[in-house]
């Protein structure tokens, strides 16, 4: 179709990368600005507050740490899914991408337990400024996890048909770009965990 940017799997001569890779990095740049606005809000609220609770007084630090381990592990399974495709091993790709989706689910379940415990103790977003920014930032992050699980679930469900129809390079390229998003979500959590739980 005329006017569409073609999905190419070979790097362009002028940039040295594919269109899709530049596209995903520009998208991630916009995501950095989205989360950056919330991190800036957090700083302004904390600096301007007369009192601010230490994260470990309110949060369940072991559960937060466990979720950090879960998300880091999911980043590893994500890169291993890509590496499996590079090794032309479709069975391992399915195992690793499936594990990535599963670990995303485990992260959300743990987060759900944490939210439930807070509601049980009558701690809501309206209770304090700290809880308002906590629920906003972790909620936005959880939405990104859900979106990433959807993308990775799509790769899990359609990987075989891509592979068998001869679109191997297309699948590898898409999994690599999907992985960039997933690792970005991991990086956001790497900063959210200390500022919300440990400081």
């Amino acid at each position: 179709m005329e006017g569409l940017i073609p999905y190419i799997t070979e790097p362009r001569e002028d940039t040295g990368v594919t269109n899709s890779k530049i596209g995903i990095w520009l998208f991630l740049a916009s995501e950095v600005m989205l989360f950056g606005a919330f991190f800036a809000t957090y700083i302004v609220l904390r600096v301007g507050a007369e009192t601010w609770p230490r994260g470990w007084e309110i949060q369940n630090v072991p559960l937060g740490a466990l979720n950090t381990v879960v998300l880091i592990t999911s980043s590893v399974t994500m890169v291993m899914a890509w590496a499996s495709l590079e090794r032309r091993d479709l069975a391992k790709f399915h195992r690793f991408i499936g594990a990535t989706v599963l670990l995303g689910g485990v992260f959300l379940v743990i987060k759900g337990f944490e939210y439930a415990a807070k509601f049980e103790h009558h701690r809501f977003p309206s209770t304090s400024t700290y809880l308002a920014i906590y629920f906003t930032m972790t909620g936005l992050h959880a939405l990104h996890v859900i979106f990433g699980m959807g993308v990775n679930g799509y790769f899990w469900a359609t990987g075989r048909s891509y592979w068998e129809s001869g679109n191997k390079e297309l699948l590898i390229s898409r999994v690599e770009n999907g992985g960039l998003f997933w690792h970005f979500v991991d990086i956001v959590w790497i900063f959210l965990f200390p500022i919300m739980y440990l400081l």
Partner: protein, 100 residues
């Protein structure tokens, strides 16, 4: 798949494993430090230094920035610049009101 490509992938995967163990160890360190109940400013500096190092590892190895092209670094440099503007300009407004 040629032999050089296969060797590169094997080397890359070994790197992923080392980074994974390092990330777990750094997570344990940052949690351990939080139990020391340090002064707020000390805790902030240590936690953010560890988090920045962990994020760099993820970006360099898992997002494979180490082997990326110049155009990606240009996008990244512009992003980092505007991120810090976004992060600190509102803070300057806040500091401007100190003592009023």
């Amino acid at each position: 798949m040629d032999t050089n490509h296969a060797i590169d992938i094997e080397r890359t995967v070994r790197g992923f494993k080392v980074v994974f163990i390092t990330l777990l160890a750094l997570t344990a360190v940052s949690v351990g430090v939080s139990y020391l109940h340090l002064e707020e400013h000390e805790a902030i500096i240590i936690a953010l230094l560890i988090a920045s190092f962990k994020a760099s590892l993820v970006a360099l190895f898992f997002m494979r920035l180490l082997s990326e092209e110049k155009v990606i670094f240009l996008v990244l440099a512009a992003t980092v610049l505007f991120f810090f503007v976004l992060l600190f300009v509102p803070l300057l407004t806040e500091l401007n009101q100190v003592g009023q």
